[in-house]
């Protein structure tokens, strides 16, 4: 869960980046003759809302309404007591309490005289939001995320920083796992990640006999792998490394480079969607995680990293 440092460092992510993203939404709304765009967000599904407003709910669900030509409004299930903090880390000035999300949304639409709105990925709304929206009388128009979420230099820069953090922490902590329990290595990684400013992490380990999975108290031997998905200021990446012999390391890296070159022969996850990571058959998303598996000497070993799709093919983030 998101319980690490959630902040907005304007030197790292300039306000102008978010202004450009919101300007793009404004152009899109004007072109479609729509008065506002609705974006859903919750603890696990916050990537799109974060891209547009830097809002990452640590708990609960929320709706964001981005009016054409005006500042975004947050409808929030969290207590008004945390609104000053939310304002300090997001673009929002107007935050409305919304224990009943859809009641608050229809009230806002009524106040502003909106009879129709755009909805980011309409069919992906949770049923508890979609149903009342349809019944509300407000006409929703689907706006595909691909038209709104167009990654820019600021996005890639933040992802690169997150990918670097994953690599550096894995390099330091991974060798310390041999002979210890997978809980101990998970704990050490968790501590290092959160000290470095990560707000969430999903840590999976393989003892060499299975695919990476949550720690279970197993003892790590001479060959093991860790797959680490981490969120830094809302930007998710995945890094996977094995602890094994230098020869095996070379072989893993060689096979990973081969997979990277041909964009095939590996497990692919998109890191560009609404969720932190999703399995996909295609490597053509802007940001993906590529993970290879190789069995050497009877041990299943894993290696992977976060990559950027470019016109020249995949490049490491």
């Amino acid at each position: 869960m998101k319980r690490g440092l959630i902040r907005w460092d304007r030197a790292e992510l300039p306000s102008s980046a978010l202004e450009s993203r919101l300007a793009r939404v404004n152009s899109l709304l004007n072109a479609r003759n729509l008065p506002a765009l609705l974006v859903y967000s919750d603890v696990w599904r916050s990537s799109h809302a974060r891209f547009l407003t830097n809002f990452m709910p640590y708990w609960n669900r929320s709706l964001i309404l981005i009016p054409a030509g005006a500042a975004p409004v947050l409808l929030c299930g969290l207590s008004p007591r945390v609104y000053p903090w939310i304002r300090s880390v997001t673009v929002f000035d107007e935050i409305r309490p919304a224990a009943k999300l859809m009641t608050a949304m229809t009230q806002l639409c009524t106040e502003r005289g909106w009879k129709s709105i755009g909805v980011l990925d309409l069919a992906q709304l949770p049923n508890e939001v979609y149903g009342p929206l349809i019944l509300s009388g407000i006409e929703p128009t689907n706006i595909p995320a691909s038209e709104v979420i167009c990654f820019d230099d600021a996005e890639f820069s933040m992802r690169r920083r997150a990918a670097r953090m994953a690599r550096e922490i894995l390099a330091v902590e991974l060798p310390n796992g041999a002979g210890r329990s997978d809980y101990a290595l998970t704990g050490a990684l968790e501590r290092s990640l959160r000290m470095a400013g990560a707000e969430d992490a999903v840590i999976l380990l393989s003892t060499g006999n299975t695919a990476p999975r949550p720690a279970s108290g197993a003892t790590l031997g001479d060959h093991y792998s860790v797959s680490l998905a981490l969120e830094y200021c809302g930007h998710w990446v995945r890094g996977t490394r094995a602890h094994t012999t230098p020869d095996n390391q070379n072989l893993l890296q060689e096979r990973f480079r081969d997979a990277l070159a041909v964009s095939a022969g590996a497990q692919v996850e998109t890191l560009s969607g609404p969720y932190p990571f999703e399995s996909t058959h295609s490597a053509d998303s802007p940001v993906i995680a590529l993970t290879i598996e190789t069995t050497i000497g009877g041990a299943r070993l894993f290696f992977g990293d976060s990559c950027l799709g470019t016109a020249r093919g995949l490049e490491l983030l």
Partner: protein, 358 residues
């Protein structure tokens, strides 16, 4: 790891409701519906377990690694990057409200308009089995140890997020799957807890936390406040009120007691001392809640919630709120409802913790 008691309960529910099958759906944040039957900690964005009236279970997951993990417990597991296309038809869904609408549409396209089983299944989940209680007790023991670590690590000069990092590392090292944790530090200006910031803890601060480690799927909670340095008169006065309010709930909670009474018992203590206005939604959220596969299970302990407690439920009573005496303060323990009353599962001392700073 199939919950056999739950499988039996769900089959009875299907018979009672006239359903042929039930789907238990989970996503990355809300895994509790799925894990109430198939208690496996998947890591992909979605998972669903379809239970038929004959008792057969088919699981659909969204990563190949999850398939391998679940296959150790359920023989019929499908990995589907097209999750909607793999769901098929079903009579009812537990977690329907959380599902993306396209998934609901896919179930309808397969021939059935599913009913919501969420309320029914939540009620089944409230009364814990012996195995579930065992998991909760392990989580409580870890919460106690986690708080000791928190209290021994908090010091002037450490940043909030560094303190959280130390506690998270400790909990994971000792077997926690996950943890829900909020924190606050400062004085009378602090009105609530939130995720950690880079604020540096200072002498004289109240440092509040709600620790909620998860063990084998089940969350238990502890809420405590500590002062960095000797407590002020205001902090002592406030804690005395919180302590009395929490005790009032703990003394009352038993099978047959309505949660509204447990909330009123706590709020009445604040009212008695002239702080009734701080029991409302402007300053506080709930006076406690259920615990289990979700850290904030219903029923919420509030004066306007009507629910009668049952033996075997596990709840936390916490009169957490803002008081002008001290700023935001928290105090609460995990309680198991027994046949005649309740038993406090936490062993952590019931006191205002103080960190000596000189």
């Amino acid at each position: 790891m199939i919950n056999e008691h739950r499988r039996k309960q769900l089959i009875e529910l299907m018979t009672e409701r006239g359903w042929d099958s039930i789907l238990l759906y989970g996503h990355g944040w809300r895994k509790e519906h799925f894990r109430s039957l198939v208690n496996v900690n998947y890591s992909g964005p979605h998972a669903a377990a379809r239970l038929s009236k004959s008792g057969d279970i088919r699981v659909t997951v969204t990563t190949p690694w999850d398939r391998e993990l679940v296959e150790e417990h359920v023989p019929d597991v499908v990995f589907a990057s097209d999750f909607a296309g793999a769901l098929g038809s079903c009579s009812a869904v537990s977690g329907l409200e959380l599902m993306q609408q396209r998934f609901v549409n896919a179930i309808r396209a397969a021939g059935t308009d599913p009913a919501s089983a969420t309320t029914d299944v939540e009620e089944l989940r409230r009364v814990k089995t012996a195995e579930e209680l065992e998991c909760l007790k392990r989580a409580v023991a870890l919460a106690d140890r986690g708080y000791q670590h928190f209290a021994s690590t908090a010091r002037p000069g450490i940043k909030e997020y560094e303190l959280v990092a130390e506690v998270e590392g400790f909990l994971k090292t000792n077997g926690a799957e996950d943890n829900f944790m909020l924190i606050a530090s400062g004085g009378v200006e602090v009105v609530g807890m939130k995720p950690p910031t880079d604020r540096v803890l200072q002498r004289g601060d109240s440092v509040t936390t709600e620790l909620t480690p998860q063990v084998n799927g089940y969350y238990a909670q502890i809420c405590r406040t500590l002062t960095l340095g000797p407590p002020s008169e205001g902090q002592l006065q406030a804690f005395a009120i919180f302590s009395e309010a929490q005790k009032a709930a703990e003394d009352l909670i038993a099978p047959g007691i309505n949660v509204s009474e447990a909330a009123k018992a706590q709020n009445d203590v604040f009212r008695k001392y002239g702080y009734g206005e701080y029991t409302g939604s402007k300053y506080t959220r709930v006076r406690g809640h259920g615990l289990g596969l979700f850290p904030d299970e219903t029923p919420h302990i509030l004066e306007d919630v009507d629910y009668v407690l049952k033996e075997g439920m596990v709840v936390i009573a916490h009169p957490n709120t803002y008081l002008p005496l001290s700023g935001y303060m928290v105090f609460g323990d995990t309680l198991q409802v027994t046949g005649t009353g309740n038993v406090r599962l936490n062993q952590t001392e019931k006191k205002l913790f103080t960190m000596v700073t000189d």
